[in-house]
Amino acid sequence: MNKLGIVLLGMLAAGPVAAGPLDIFGTAPSEARVILAGHDADVPEVIPRYSGTVTAVGPKEGERVASFKTSITDFELNEVKSWRLTILSGELLGTPFVVLANTADEIVVTEEGSLDGLVPGDLFVVEQIFTRRIIRIQ
C-alpha cells in the first residue's frame, strides 16, 4: 500500500448505501475504501499523517519489540523520525510511541515503549507531532 496520509485511497464518493439491510457490524476497516463523510473534504490537513498496516513485527531485542514492517513501502529514510506513532487496533490500541528511525518500510520506536503485542494486520498512524524529551545529565 502506498502512503495514505489522508490522501484517502480510493476516494469513493459517498454514494447511496446499497439496497437491502445495512451490514454495519461486520465490516472490517478497509484501507482502500476510505469514504469521505459529510465535512471531511472541507478543511485542510492540519498535520502530515500516514496510516498503514503492520505487515511484520520484530525481531525482539531482549525483552522488547522495537520495530515493525509496514504496508507503506516508500518512506524516505527517517522521514517520520521523532513523529508520534499510535496503534489503532489490537492489543496495543491507543498506545502512543515515538519513532526513533525509519527505512522505506520499517519503523523503529524509541526505548520508552515496547511493541510487544503488536501483530501483523494491526493498524497504525504516524503523525508529525513531536514529543519533547529532556535528557538530564548529572
Binding site: 457490524f25 473534504a41 472541507d42 478543511v43 492540519v46 519533547r132 548529572q138
Partner: protein
C-alpha cells in the same frame, strides 16, 4: 562523576485522558482531544464496541473509525470552532446518553466560511468506573446554516428558513 540519564516524555503524549465520571465531560473531552490532535487521548475515551454514524456513513468498529475518519475529524476540529447550543443528557446507571447541538464555524480549504448547525447523539457505557463512548451519531438538519441570531444557553438553535426545526434526534 557518575552519569545518569533521565528521559521524560512530556506534554504532547498526554496519554489516556484522565478518568471522566460525568458523561458530558467525556463528550467534551473527546472534542478537546480531536482539537488537540491527541489520537491516543481520543481513543482512550472510546469503547471497544464503538459504532459511529457520521453523515450517513458507518464506521462499524473502533478500528474502522480510528483508521478512516478519526484523522479527518481531527482536521475538521482544528479548522473549526464548535459552540455548544443545546444539550440534554439522560439514562441511568451505567448507560447514559448525551445529545448536543453545536454551531460550527471556521474556514474551509478554500478559505470560505463554515457556519453550520451540527447534531450529535452520543451513547456512553460505564465500565471499570469510567464512562466511554460506544456510539456517536453526527448529522446536520437540512438547511443547517443559521442565518440569524442563535439563542444561546439552553435556547434552541434558530432553524434556517424553510428548514425543519433543529430538534435533537432521538437517542
Amino acid at each position: 562523576m557518575k552519569r545518569a540519564a533521565l528521559a521524560l516524555s512530556l506534554a504532547v503524549l498526554a496519554g489516556p485522558a484522565a478518568a471522566q465520571q460525568i458523561p458530558t465531560e467525556v463528550v467534551d473531552a473527546f472534542h478537546s482531544a480531536l482539537t488537540r490532535q491527541d489520537t491516543a487521548g481520543a481513543l482512550s475515551l472510546l469503547a471497544r464496541d464503538l459504532i459511529v454514524f457520521e453523515f450517513g456513513l458507518v464506521d462499524p468498529t473502533l478500528e474502522a473509525y480510528a483508521f478512516q475518519h478519526l484523522p479527518l475529524d481531527m482536521n475538521f476540529a482544528a479548522a473549526t470552532t464548535w459552540t455548544l447550543q443545546t444539550r440534554r443528557m439522560g439514562g441511568s446507571g451505567d448507560d447514559r446518553w448525551v445529545i448536543s447541538t453545536y454551531r460550527v464555524t471556521g474556514t474551509d480549504v478554500n478559505n470560505a466560511p463554515i457556519d453550520s448547525l451540527y447534531l450529535e447523539s452520543v451513547l456512553l457505557t460505564r465500565s471499570g468506573g469510567n464512562f466511554r463512548i460506544n456510539h456517536i451519531h453526527w448529522s446536520q438538519p437540512s438547511g443547517a446554516t443559521p442565518t440569524g441570531a442563535v439563542q444561546g444557553g439552553a435556547g434552541a438553535p434558530a432553524p434556517a428558513p424553510g428548514a425543519a426545526p433543529a430538534a435533537p434526534p432521538a437517542p
